[in-house]
């Protein structure tokens, strides 16, 4: 039942906040804070309560689950389940959700109620995505996070918001439709073989199908997740959406929405289609390297501060893609840490950029410069997160990237060496950011207010979090370890069980040879 609350609280808080916004503009903020605090508290409770169980394999891979029939005739159920991986990501969602509400405190003044409604419903969708194990339900949540996000960008965004929001919507919607097709394909194949209509993830797991079918279905999922992550060449929505969104929107986008893509790859693509996914691994490795290096190059070329930060996400998510397709424990743990650290560090950078924009009404770095002399605190903290983002050891991002690369090295040396070059690219854009904004002469004589108490409090929390992740990430690693191992085991069993299906689904050229378990191998 607790899982239902995790989804229901932000869902309900969103509605209440909308209504309450008519009475007083402060009310929605407090309602959301309260709702998210409750969600976060529940997650923390789960974390502490299940701490005993985590790390031990029990009969069920799930720490908590709930499975209620919903539309039985179609095999749709309300199936939510939580393992260590979802737990970590939901913790991050609760945390960044609260941060998003707090940073909007002054920035959002119009339609406050509706804004918070959208914010909360996006979060509901995200948390739902991390919990849903019924594919129909998953798709439902997947779409649920898009629409409110669209409104967040389109209504409270910056100058070019309409273009950005439509682009965001079309990209995610089209790719989402491909995923829907793949889900339905899987659904019908499963029915064809077992005469059971079901969207249940655990039942669909060992659906035997031909390699050809698996390949196409895998691609459907993969494209949806790759757009979300995003992977070059389907990344172009990201810069516009991140740049034009209000600060809270950017924090949610970078911190959480991108992670749903990675989560989908981990939860669905590998366990459902292990062979097809392994076969795709070499291409994914190349795409990851291209994302890492190309993202860094794009970031370096920007003059819009927020756009620069947006492009760094592409580079960082390249490491996530690399780690997922390396598919071993080192790399996967690195992926989890990279996701959390990136959420915090890039989220913080977006908040700082938002703070600057609020004060300067521009994001053009060539009009900035020398801001250190007027806002030393802001500068120092921005420097800190820029350094985190270039992967300085002792901060969370380093641990994530290092583990990913270490894991990937076992799989492909060439790819890893090329990906490691991304560290240089990250150094270049991070230092360039600091140079253009905070160092150099203060040409335009800016005189700005330094961070307020509210902003400092957020930043202090973020700094503590990222240092903690950098120096003692073990609690997090312990939480996700069993879940990741379970995913690897599931993928391995699926591969063992998978038998070539009947002719109807198998191409004629396909013989009856038994599918061999194969590890992900990059070139």
């Amino acid at each position: 039942m607790i899982l239902v609350w995790l989804v229901a609280i932000p869902f309900g808080a969103g509605i209440v906040a909308w209504v309450a916004g008519r009475w007083h503009p402060k009310l929605p903020r407090w309602i959301c804070i309260l709702g998210l605090a409750l969600t976060l508290a529940l997650t923390l409770y789960l974390w502490s309560e299940q701490g005993q169980q985590i790390g031990f394999s029990t009969n069920t891979p799930w720490l908590v689950e709930i499975n209620q029939p919903w539309i039985s005739s179609l095999g749709i159920s309300f199936y939510l389940a939580l393992d260590g991986l979802s737990l970590v990501l939901i913790l991050l969602s609760g945390f960044l959700g609260m941060v998003a509400v707090v940073v909007s405190w002054r920035e959002i003044e119009e339609r406050v109620g509706f804004f918070h409604f959208n914010l909360m419903w996006t979060l509901t969708g995200i948390i739902g995505v991390f919990l849903a194990l019924d594919l129909f339900l998953f798709y439902f949540f997947w779409e649920m996070m898009l629409v409110p996000m669209y409104f967040l960008i389109a209504l409270w965004g910056h100058e070019n918001r309409v273009y950005a929001s439509v682009k965001f919507f079309i990209f995610t919607q089209v790719s989402g439709l491909l995923m829907l097709l793949a889900i339905l394909g899987l659904y019908f194949i499963h029915h064809h073989l077992t005469s059971v209509y079901t969207f249940n993830y655990t039942q669909l797991l060992s659906t035997p199908m031909s390699q050809e079918a698996a390949k196409w279905l895998m691609l459907g999922f993969l494209i949806a997740f790759a757009v979300k992550l995003p992977v070059v060449p389907v990344h172009t929505w990201l810069a516009d959406a991140h740049t034009e969104a209000p600060t809270a929107g950017s924090v949610i986008l970078a911190g959480l929405l991108l992670k749903t893509g990675a989560y989908g790859l981990l939860r669905f693509v590998f366990p459902l289609f292990p062979q097809a996914a392994s076969a795709f691994a070499p291409i994914a490795g190349v795409l990851a390297v291209v994302s890492i290096l190309y993202g860094a190059l794009l970031a370096f070329g920007q003059s819009d501060l927020k756009r620069l930060v947006a492009y760094t996400s592409i580079s960082h998510m390249g490491f996530v893609l690399l780690g997922i397709f390396a598919w071993n424990e080192l790399a996967l743990q690195g992926v989890v840490l990279q996701m959390v650290s990136h959420g915090i560090s890039t989220g913080s950078l977006f908040i700082l950029v938002g703070a600057l924009q609020e004060r300067m009404h521009t994001r053009d770095m060539y009009r900035m410069g020398g801001l250190w002399s007027t806002v030393p605190r802001l500068g120092g903290i921005a420097l800190f997160f820029a350094v985190a983002s270039l992967g300085l050891p002792g901060l969370g991002n380093f641990v994530g990237e290092f583990l990913v690369l270490l894991g990937a090295y076992k799989v492909s040396i060439t790819i890893t060496v090329l990906a490691t070059l991304g560290l240089i690219g990250a150094t270049i854009y991070s230092l360039w950011l600091v140079q253009l904004t905070f160092h150099g002469p203060n040409k335009e004589g800016w005189k700005l207010d330094d961070l307020s108490g509210r902003e400092r409090a957020i930043m202090a929390t973020m700094i503590v979090a990222i240092v903690w992740l950098g120096l003692y990430p073990q609690p997090l690693l312990n939480t996700s370890r069993e879940a990741l191992n379970q995913l690897q085991r599931t993928a391995a069993t699926t591969q063992m069980v998978a038998q070539p299906a009947e002719e109807k689904w198998a191409p004629t050229t396909y013989g009856g040879e038994k599918a061999e378990p194969r590890r992900a191998v990059l070139p």
Binding site: T236, L330, Q333, P393, I424, H439, G440, P441
Partner: protein
């Protein structure tokens, strides 16, 4: 007693946190900033005393603070390792670091960002101590990147000038290139040997890799990449001269005494790998020899007093690399120690001069400082003598002589390396005393307006004393044969095996080296003493001018990197700022819009048009049905 080891890096880190979060008034800042490093130095000295009095079992002590992470058999720890090598390092880092902090109290007093300065300096010392005390390569890498970051912060300390920012970024990016190689080296080592704990790693490497095996060569080469970046050796030396943009005590701390020697430390620490990879070790020696020569020539052509010292640093670290390359580990560490003393002294002396002459860097604008700043002159002279390795009285002589002797006598050494080292010694004397003669002798050109106070004099005096007596801990066979220092280092590192201990030969070589450095000073007097025109005439011949320009520009490395790496990357980033891939999607959107407009044109509202469309459509469909 050894339990206190963690305090050595902890004090400076604590100092950083306090200064960064609190930013107190100047007096408090000075107390915290200097005090933290001072306490750290006291602990280090006390550890040294204990280490000599009752050495820990196995000549090494390790302290595990906590396990950093445990993932699939990868469990690096936050653990410190103290043996004679790291003890030497922490002694030099904390003692010299303390003196430089003390000096900064006065040097930086006018600066508004006083607490930021000391915060960065403390962070730097903390990171450097982590580097040298790390028990595994990942923690070492943390310190390694930490000092890289601090050098960026301190070089760009006066951030208002974009040139400083540029120098700072250059330092970080160039060293990061080396660090990336090193990171790949770590991947290789862990994947193949299953640990990053240094001692265990060395044991396993010895056990599993035969000498000259491909993996050993690759691992050593990758670590060498990291070392080249941090220690500013060919071809990654270009960042160091520019790094002089930072405040002068920063140059003394980072670019003379500590950070740049990190590469030397790394190679000494992982010497087993280099022994297993003879080709790489040979490369180390060759790179060292080449660097010491190239940088020596460059130092000869600079006019900025700090850049002379910067090139001199590159050149002296070249000597250390030469020593490492011929397997003379203790000689390298010995030169590291003496170099830390005299180079810190020279930088601090240069700082006094620069401040006294209102930020004047050019030695040609100086002159006659001997009388104006006598105290500084004498200490600077001691430092210069030590750098030029004047025989018997200076510390530099003992360490450089040892390196030259090893380059000659070690099984890995060769005559050519010795000749290179000797030529370098001549160059060293030349450029050092060129600087001394031009800046301190001759007529006064600018009046010195500020005399150093006590906080600046104490470090100068102490370092001057150390620059003399620091060499007496290791006397060659012909001067009493007292290898105290080597014996101490050999508790951690293997002794260099000489072909045969030939006292007579060693004396001969020592005499040659000694006369070369004295000869260099005399030559410098002849060529550069103010009033001599001879050198000007050489420099104005066409060959002389070309050579001068070439040396002055560091042999064109900067130009090369700028033309082939920096410019193309910036150009590409600039051209692609709107992301060429987005054009595809824009194209799709455009096609959609075009077809939308085209189709909406057909919605005219005219009955005639619709009727005709229906007619044509029906005809086409019937045609298709009938004919196909």
């Amino acid at each position: 007693m050894f339990d206190w080891l963690w305090l050595v890096p902890a004090f400076p880190f604590a100092g950083f946190v306090v200064l960064a979060c609190w930013a107190p008034a100047k007096r408090t800042t000075a107390v915290i900033g200097v005090g933290s490093v001072g306490l750290s130095a006291l602990v280090a000295i006390w550890l040294a005393v204990t280490f000599f009095a009752s050495p820990p079992p196995g000549q090494a002590y390790s302290q595990t603070l906590w396990t950093w992470m445990t993932v699939a058999g990868f469990s690096p720890q936050i653990a410190l390792y103290l043996d004679s090598l790291s003890l030497l390092m922490i002694l030099v880092v904390t003692v010299v670091g303390f003196l430089i902090h003390l000096y900064s109290v006065e040097f930086m007093i006018e600066d508004q960002a006083y607490s930021r300065y000391f915060a960065y300096m403390n962070l730097f010392v903390g990171a450097m101590l982590t580097l040298v005390l790390a028990d595994n390569l990942l923690l070492l890498y943390l310190g390694w990147e930490g000092v890289g970051l601090c050098s960026y912060l301190l070089i760009g300390f006066w951030y208002r000038d974009p040139a400083n920012g540029r120098a700072a970024r250059k330092a970080f990016v160039v060293t990061r290139v080396g660090d990336t190689a090193m990171a790949i080296g770590l991947f290789l080592l862990f994947t193949n040997l299953g640990t990053l704990q240094i001692q265990e790693l060395m044991d396993r490497a010895l056990g599993q890799w035969p000498p000259g095996s491909g993996l050993a060569v690759a691992a050593a080469a990758l670590l060498l990449g990291g070392a080249l970046g941090k220690s500013a050796q060919l071809p990654l030396q270009t960042w160091l001269p520019d790094a002089m943009a930072g405040p002068t005590p920063v140059s003394a701390l980072i670019h003379a005494a500590t950070m740049v020697t990190a590469g030397v430390y790394l190679i000494a620490r992982t010497h087993v790998l280099f022994s297993l990879a003879p080709t790489v070790q040979w490369t180390v020696a060759v790179i060292g020899a080449a660097t010491l020569l190239l940088a020596g020539f460059s130092a000869l052509s600079q006019w900025d007093i700090k850049r002379v010292l910067a090139y001199s640093t590159i050149s002296q670290i070249g000597y250390m690399f030469l020593a490492l390359g011929v397997g003379a580990w203790s000689a390298a560490m010995f030169h590291f120690m003496t170099h830390a003393f005299f180079k810190a002294l020279l930088f601090l002396g240069a700082g006094v001069v620069i401040q006294a002459l209102q930020e004047e860097h050019s030695i040609f604008e100086m002159g006659g400082l001997r009388r104006q700043l006598p105290f500084t002159f004498w200490t600077f002279l001691v430092g210069s003598a030590s750098l030029a390795a004047l025989p018997v009285v200076t510390a530099g002589f003992y360490s450089k002589d040892l390196i030259l002797w090893r380059a000659w006598s070690s099984p890995l050494g060769s005559r050519w390396l010795w000749v290179a080292g000797l030529t370098g010694a001549l160059l060293t004397s030349l450029y050092t005393f060129r600087m001394v003669f031009i800046a301190f002798f001759g007529p006064v050109k600018k009046a010195a307006t500020k005399k150093p106070g006590l906080p600046m004099k104490i470090p100068l005096a102490t370092l001057a004393v150390l620059s003399v007596i620091g060499g007496w801990v290791e006397l060659p066979s012909y001067l009493g044969n007292l290898p105290l220092f080597s014996d101490f280092i050999h508790r951690a590192l293997p002794a260099a095996s000489s072909l045969s201990v030939n006292g007579h030969q060693e004396l001969m070589l020592g005499l040659i080296a000694g006369s070369i450095s004295v000869g260099g000073v005399l030559l410098a007097y002849v060529l550069f003493m103010p009033g001599r025109e001879f050198i000007e005439r050489i420099a104005h011949t066409s060959v002389g001018a070309v050579l001068h320009r070439w040396w002055f520009a560091d042999w064109g490395f900067d130009w090369l990197y700028d033309a082939f790496l920096v410019q193309p990357y910036s150009w590409l980033a600039n051209v692609d700022r709107n992301d060429v891939i987005d054009f595809i999607y824009d194209g799709i959107a455009w096609i959609n819009q075009i077809s939308y407009h085209a189709l909406s044109r057909t919605q005219t509202g005219r009955l005639r048009w619709y009727a005709m469309s229906i007619g044509i459509g029906a005809t086409v469909i019937i045609g298709i049905v009938v004919f196909l």
